[in-house]
């Protein structure tokens, strides 16, 4: 493999790059004259907020999309990529944000999928496959349980598998799209070490991120893009985190200043909650949790440690095995989501595209859904469309949703504005409790600040918030108390002030704070 790497990389000065790449979608220019050069054997970071044009550029570099102008540079010469297969032939592979693995197969089967080592009888040579897998893992300095099914494997193992699979297939240029989004702090550190090791082996890594700490920690070169244009491109040691932040956003972003609100009555109270799923697996056990009015309680944890199940238990989307859920002193354990909403529950879904919003429906429909049977909107069985439209417009203005027309489908909005539509709906009618799951996922840095402000204003007006987030920074910014889930149980609870990233990180991994 080392030899083929040398052949591919040759003595090129640019292993992968872009020259004047422009891509337009209608009136929108997603990529505008993009230039960058990733030198062989380096980690090159592409930094930008949401909507900066990173994903479009990655699709082009993968051959999944064609630029309107400009060209891709591979080993110093311009090439046209017809598709991911062609990119792969040139040694370029990508790890997508959403993993492309077959959940029902084992880690090893996923590794060799479509490139199976075959014995002379035409049968898959499992011994050879295992050896190849172990060799790769050893060289990368990681250990994996090769016989585990992917669906049972932890997220960081799946990510490592995705990377090893690219190596197995002979890629020496790895494109990683926001690879740390799903990892705990310690795992992030491990991944960064792995990437540096691969770089030192002579591979070229394109690291797409908006987390400036990580970018500064491992990159050799950094390219910042904003609104489709390259703002700057150069060695990492000539810039700083602060400078990058300014370049990324175009201005200094005002940090959210949290205020300490006076706590009120208990709004949500969970006692002894447990859940055993249909396959007999224990998902949640012995959870006690309460949220008071005027308080933000954050639920931290590596994804897959019971957050989803707990949220479904609180919202009533699924039933529980034991314990109680009370909302404003009403026992709601057996109630439907509809009944719980009537008692003041609001639920901001983590899955904006499929649950938080109905992308095909209009913006107005998305704002009004669930409120449409209020007396002001429904007269003798018929919807009062005028009143509905007026109310939707007022809500959209209140939450600063930038739009052409509220009659357009909500999918026509940017990620940040979509999320504001969902928040506008959920905070309508002043609910007592907001379950806010991943409220800023896929939202750019301005959007994040605005959404945080919404949550804080709601809290300061006496609202109770249960915040579920994978962004530790977000939790540290907003939460009055932080409860860490590990393996379906509460691992620890920290108050604002006594919580730091390190101690939360230890709790997330099941250790003691």
């Amino acid at each position: 493999m080392t030899q083929s790497l040398a052949l591919k990389a040759g003595e090129a000065r640019v292993r992968l790059g872009a020259r004047g790449i422009t891509r337009r979608f209608g009136a929108l220019t997603a990529n505008d004259q993009i230039d960058f050069s990733a030198r062989p054997g380096t980690i090159h970071a592409i930094v930008g907020g949401n909507g900066a044009g990173k994903s479009t550029l990655m699709r082009i570099l993968q051959g999944m999309d064609q630029p309107d102008e400009g060209s891709i540079i591979v080993n110093d010469s311009a090439v046209t990529l017809s598709g991911p297969a062609e990119a792969f032939r040139l040694g370029i592979g990508m790890v997508h944000q959403e993993f492309m693995l077959v959940n029902q197969l084992t880690m090893l089967e996923n590794l060799i999928l479509a490139r199976e080592p075959v014995s002379s009888l035409g049968v898959i040579d499992r011994a050879a496959a295992l050896k190849a897998g172990q060799d790769l893992a050893e060289r990368a300095g990681v250990t994996l349980n090769w016989h585990q099914r992917v669906q049972d494997a932890p997220v960081h193992a799946r990510q490592i598998l995705e990377i090893l699979r690219l190596l197995y297939r002979g890629a020496d240029v790895l494109i990683l799209d926001e690879p740390t989004a799903v990892l705990a702090p310690q795992q992030i550190r491990d991944l960064l070490v792995l990437l540096q090791r691969l770089r030192d082996d002579g591979r070229t890594i394109l690291f797409i991120s908006h987390k400036l700490g990580e970018v500064m920690a491992i990159s050799d070169d950094i390219t910042v893009i904003r609104t489709g244009r390259v703002i700057t491109s150069g060695p990492a040691d000539e810039t700083s985190k602060a400078q990058l932040a300014v370049q990324m956003t175009g201005e200094m972003v005002r940090a959210v200043t949290p205020r300490r609100a006076r706590e009120g009555d208990t709004v949500l109270s969970i006692t002894g909650l447990g859940l055993t799923d249909g396959r007999g697996i224990r998902r949640l056990s012995g959870i006690d949790l309460s949220v008071a009015a005027g308080e933000i309680v954050a639920l931290a944890g590596i994804s897959g440690n019971g957050q989803d199940e707990l949220v479904e238990a609180i919202t009533g989307l699924s039933s529980i095995s034991e314990g109680n859920v009370a909302l404003r002193y009403h026992d709601v354990t057996g109630m439907s989501l509809h009944q719980r909403r009537a008692l003041g529950l609001a639920y901001l879904s983590p899955d904006r595209a499929h649950e938080g919003l109905c992308l095909e429906a209009s913006i107005t429909d998305n704002v009004i859904a669930g409120h449409h049977r209020r007396a002001e909107f429904l007269a003798s069985g018929l919807l009062r469309l005028k009143a509905i439209r007026a109310h939707a417009e007022a809500q959209l203005d209140r939450f600063g949703v930038r739009r052409d027309s509220a009659a357009l489908p909500v999918s026509s909005l940017s990620g940040g504005n979509q999320q504001r539509v969902a928040i506008a709906r959920e905070l309508d009618g002043s609910p007592a409790l907001l379950i806010a799951c991943q409220p800023t996922r896929g939202v750019d840095i301005h959007g994040i600040a605005a959404i945080h402000q919404c949550l804080l204003e709601y809290r300061d007006a006496g609202g109770a918030v249960l915040l579920v987030s994978e962004e530790l920074e977000e939790i540290m910014t907003l939460a009055d108390r932080i409860t860490v889930l590990f393996n379906g149980a509460v691992r620890g609870t920290l108050r604002r002030g006594e919580a730091d990233v390190e101690s939360i990180g230890r709790l997330m991994l099941g250790e003691d704070a």
């Binding site: 900066a52 919003l357 429906a361 669930g370 919807l383 489908p409 026509s412």
Partner: protein, 351 residues
């Protein structure tokens, strides 16, 4: 970055012009393909099409015949569309047509002493309720156990026709009749004719009212709003507090009721009894009508009239030319195939 969907067909489809475009395109393509078939068979396609047009819209009598043929298709098209709107692919309207027709005929020949003002509504109500009841089992299976409604409703069709056949050969067989039919319904149970010398009857007016109600339901009612959202995204509808399984069940039942009414108007307006082989596939053509009409009230009306025209002109074209009746079947099949295709996808791929 997340690109907004660039499929214009889906989102700007609210304008009437666009709707006509998407509904007519499959028909135009079908005409072209069938034209090639005709030409290869030695016929001049333009002559054949002119003849078809004349036979379906050439005179007030022919127009009345087309509307009469469209009547059951309007009901079955709407019936299929309400289930589609809720996200249930109900192909069981055909069975409801049979069950509804049988129920209407039974009331019509049993309670013969009632005056028309009571008997006719009673018979129509029986048809609607029978169709509704026929959808309870697949509806509950879908709502409670998430059983695939395509399979269950398709199977229910065979059961419906078999039960009706058994009944008209046994308990409900007309005395002295040998041809698997119920007795004729009372005069008072018959839907009044709208035009002398035509089978066009008051059922067509009921169908138009249903189109209007369907439009109102989709545009202005809370239930229609909820059904639309539940059909597009069940998870979203659930998360905003809607009871999606119950909505699906309701729409399956409504779908069955409309199928029953289709059978009722056919029994009380055309055949005046239930006979074996009662429905020539009204329920199945209704699926094509709902698809071609894109679930839109006026689209469904247009599509039903189109299929009605094809069936009336097909019936008489053989009398005036040597064109085989199968060419009409080919045309119908082609329209259905192209109606299912989503032409918006072409534009999306190119973008």
């Amino acid at each position: 970055m997340a690109m907004p969907s660039t499929n214009p067909a889906t989102y700007t489809g609210f304008s009437a012009l666009k709707l006509i475009g998407t509904a007519l395109l499959p028909f135009a393509l079908a005409l072209v393909v069938a034209g090639v078939v005709l030409a290869m068979a030695g016929h001049n396609p333009f002559d054949v099409y002119r003849l078809l047009a004349l036979e379906s819209f050439g005179s007030s009598k022919r127009i009345a015949a087309t509307m009469a043929a469209a009547t059951p298709l309007i009901f079955t098209g709407l019936g299929t569309a309400v289930a589609f709107r809720a996200g249930a692919f109900n192909v069981g309207v055909e069975g409801c047509v049979s069950i509804g027709g049988l129920a209407a005929a039974y009331v019509g020949f049993t309670f013969v002493t009632l005056p028309a003002a009571l008997l006719l509504p009673f018979a129509m109500l029986a048809a609607a309720l029978a169709g509704l009841a026929w959808m309870i089992i697949p509806g509950l299976l879908k709502a409670r156990l998430d059983a695939d409604e395509v399979v269950t409703t398709l199977m229910m069709n065979f059961i419906a026709v078999a039960i009706a056949t058994w009944l008209v050969n046994g308990p409900l067989l007309a005395v002295g009749s040998a041809n698997s039919a119920t007795p004729m319904v009372a005069e008072a149970a018959r839907l009044p004719r709208l035009m002398r010398g035509s089978t066009l009857n008051a059922g067509f007016l009921i169908a138009l009212i249903c189109v209007l109600l369907y439009w109102l339901w989709g545009k202005r009612t809370a239930l229609g709003f909820e059904t639309r959202l539940a059909g597009m995204s069940p998870r979203f509808a659930t998360a905003t507090g809607m009871n999606v399984p119950r909505l699906v069940l309701k729409m399956m039942l409504l779908s069955g009721a409309l199928g029953g009414i289709a059978g009722g108007t056919h029994a009380l307006g055309n055949v005046y009894r239930y006979v074996d082989g009662f429905s020539p596939g009204y329920g199945f053509v209704g699926i094509a009508v709902a698809l071609l009409g894109r679930g839109n009230a006026w689209g469904i009306l247009m599509a039903a009239i189109l299929f009605g025209a094809l069936s009336t002109s097909g019936a008489t074209i053989q009398l005036f030319s040597d064109v085989p009746i199968e060419i009409v079947d080919i045309l119908q099949g082609m329209v259905m195939i192209f109606a299912v295709a989503r032409f918006g996808a072409l534009g999306r791929k190119a973008a």
